[in-house]
């Protein structure tokens, strides 16, 4: 019961934090695009790091939220066969989907960690920040959150329902 309450607090907190960072990333992209124009025309001083920061933020925006998108079931999918399946087959399909996705994320996570470690000392061209932090860290965090929400979906959901029924 204590675990359940803890989960009810932690999961929304994780979800909200990820969404907040994602929202901030897009808001920052809007700001940078306008800031660049203002600097160029008003202060005659072009923003040399704007393009690099914006595209890095796009990478953060993309990967960080992938787990939340899984939780909310809003990833783009093809439902043509799924709609015809009965409840039991749907569950089997869900498991297959989870296994395939888990394999995919596992490989991607391994790849992202290796990339992070290997490129740690390489900086971006305009910003003095490591490529690992700007491009590879969001992938690692995103994949971890994906696994987190997947595990939660398959392991805890049924238990929670059972406990609530009790």
């Amino acid at each position: 019961m204590k675990n359940l309450e803890l989960r009810k607090k932690i999961v929304p907190a994780v979800e909200k934090s990820l969404v907040a960072v994602d929202t901030f990333a897009l808001a920052a992209i809007v700001f940078i695009s306008i800031y660049g124009v203002v600097l160029r025309y008003v202060f005659k001083k072009p923003l040399f790091w704007g393009m690099e920061l914006s595209t890095s933020l796009a990478v953060w925006m993309t990967f960080l939220i992938s787990g939340v998108n899984y939780k909310r079931d809003i990833h783009f999918t093809v439902d043509i066969l799924y709609g015809f399946l009965n409840k039991k087959l749907k569950f089997i399909d869900d498991v297959i989907v989870a296994l395939v996705t888990l394999f995919c994320i596992g490989v991607c996570l391994y790849s992202a960690i290796i990339s992070f470690v290997k490129n740690y000392k390489i900086s971006m061209a305009a910003m003095e920040i490591s490529v690992s932090f700007t491009l590879y860290l969001p992938l690692i965090l995103g994949y971890i959150s994906y696994i987190f929400f997947m595990v939660l979906h398959f392991v805890t959901k049924d238990k929670e329902v059972k406990q609530e029924e009790v």
């Binding site: 695009s33 066969l81 995919c104």
Partner: protein
């Protein structure tokens, strides 16, 4: 075609139909290729994080989506509908024409078909049914007219096309005007013919005073596409900066001038747009791995050889590509279809020496028609929800309107000048 590539395609399709997310289907299928060909798996991250999604031009995609969502949340849709009612509501077919004109004007701000159906569509369908138009006619024309959304600038689909096909955003935006007008007119002709038998209610023809007055409430919002295009064409800002300007302009318009939305709504829209665009961006990221495989396998050259060897006229080849896109659009989101198909077909189109700007508009139109085709036309689901009609009835009401749009596609394939005439008139 090597065994490993065939395996990639088969796995991709199997996973896709099992309901594995598109991005994961594509990436997992590509992983099998990397494993078979002993390509280091670490390259996946390099391709996904450093590929298409780091394109600066592509950043215009989330920004235009955000501008469109902001317009949709406020009262702009209602203002445009009222303006259209005054100006074309008196023609036979009344609110049907209003529906089309409103969608064309709204397209100049939103840039997506779904924004049109879900926002403006709800107003259009309610007004039409309240004035005695049958639900089938109302929903059919609402969904059909929404396809001008990504054709008339600004357009999010055009951004995606330009990034993949390496074309000028300004040219594609400007080239979208005439086709958008053509689609609108073809739908209006259809409405005029259909309404002949039904005797639908029409409004009074406006006086000059009423005509002038009708412009007041909509003029600031109608300035959006003009600001974007003038800014881009005048070299004042890049397509991405233009999109940023569009966001700030629509935010100021909705929050300060029209006072339809609050700052909190603004934040909510940023959040919703970021979440939606992350889904599209993830597919673009995985498509980078797929593109790498296609390049490594030299698949475009093989396809090109096959197409050239078939001695089909270029127009027929383009129409066949459109059919493939239309078919895929029945199951997948239009932007996703473009991301999947364009890297494969672009070399063919270039070799056929077909106008790439015209091809862009043709591809976008073919892809966006997916919103009005079963079994997964998102427009059909939304239309069905708004009207309360069954999915089958909504489909039946919408499918006939595919004819005028298909005619427009054929016309553009045989006369690409419809698209390219305005961009060609303008100086470089």
């Amino acid at each position: 075609m090597s065994f490993s590539l065939i395996l990639v395609i088969v796995l991709f399709l199997v996973f896709l139909f099992l309901r594995v997310p598109v991005w994961a289907s594509m990436t997992t299928a590509c992983i099998s290729y990397l494993l078979i060909n002993k390509i280091p798996l670490v390259s996946i991250t390099t391709m996904m994080a450093g590929g298409g999604i780091t394109s600066y031009v592509l950043l215009a995609f989330p920004l235009y989506s955000l501008a469109g969502n902001l317009m949709n949340r406020g009262s702009v849709g209602k203002r445009i509908f009222d303006f259209s009612t005054v100006n074309v509501g008196w023609i036979r077919g009344g609110l049907g024409h209003v529906n089309v004109l409103a969608s064309m004007l709204f397209a100049g701000m939103s840039g997506t078909a779904i924004a049109d159906i879900s926002g403006l569509g709800a107003i259009e369908i309610k007004q039409m049914t309240d004035h005695g138009y049958d639900s089938e006619f109302s929903v059919g024309i609402t969904i059909a007219s929404s396809v001008v959304g990504p054709i008339i600038p600004p357009s999010t689909a055009a951004i995606v096309y330009c990034v993949i096909a390496n074309q000028s955003v300004v040219d594609l935006f400007i080239g979208g005007f005439l086709p958008g007008l053509l689609i609108g007119l073809s739908l209006m002709v259809g409405i005029y013919i259909v309404s002949g038998k039904k005797n639908y209610e029409v409004t009074k023809r406006p006086t000059i005073i009423q005509f002038i007055k009708s412009w007041g409430p909509v003029l600031p919002s109608l300035l959006t596409p003009i600001i974007i295009l003038l800014g881009m064409f005048g070299g004042i800002f890049t397509p991405t900066e233009a999109a940023g300007v569009a966001v700030i302009y629509t935010a100021l318009l909705s929050i300060v001038i029209y006072r339809d939305i609050t700052w909190k709504d603004f934040l909510i829209e940023i959040k919703n747009t970021a979440i939606f665009c992350a889904g599209i961006y993830l597919i673009i990221a995985s498509a980078s791995v797929f593109s790498f495989i296609l390049t490594r396998e030299n698949i475009s050259a093989s396809l090109l050889q096959a197409v050239m060897g078939s001695s089909l006229p270029p127009q027929v080849t383009i129409l066949l590509i459109c059919l493939v896109i239309l078919f895929l659009g029945c199951f997948l989101d239009g932007t996703t279809v473009m991301i999947l198909v364009l890297p494969i077909v672009m070399p063919i189109v270039k070799a056929l020496q077909f106008d790439l700007i015209a091809f862009g508009i043709i591809v976008i139109l073919s892809a966006v028609m997916g919103v009005m085709t079963p079994p997964f036309g998102l427009g059909l689901f939304i239309g069905s929800k708004i009207t309360g009609l069954s999915f089958g009835k909504t489909t039946k009401a919408t499918v006939p309107w595919l004819i005028p749009i298909a005619i427009c596609i054929v016309l553009m394939v045989y006369f690409p000048q419809i698209v390219s005439v305005i961009p060609n008139l303008l100086p470089n």
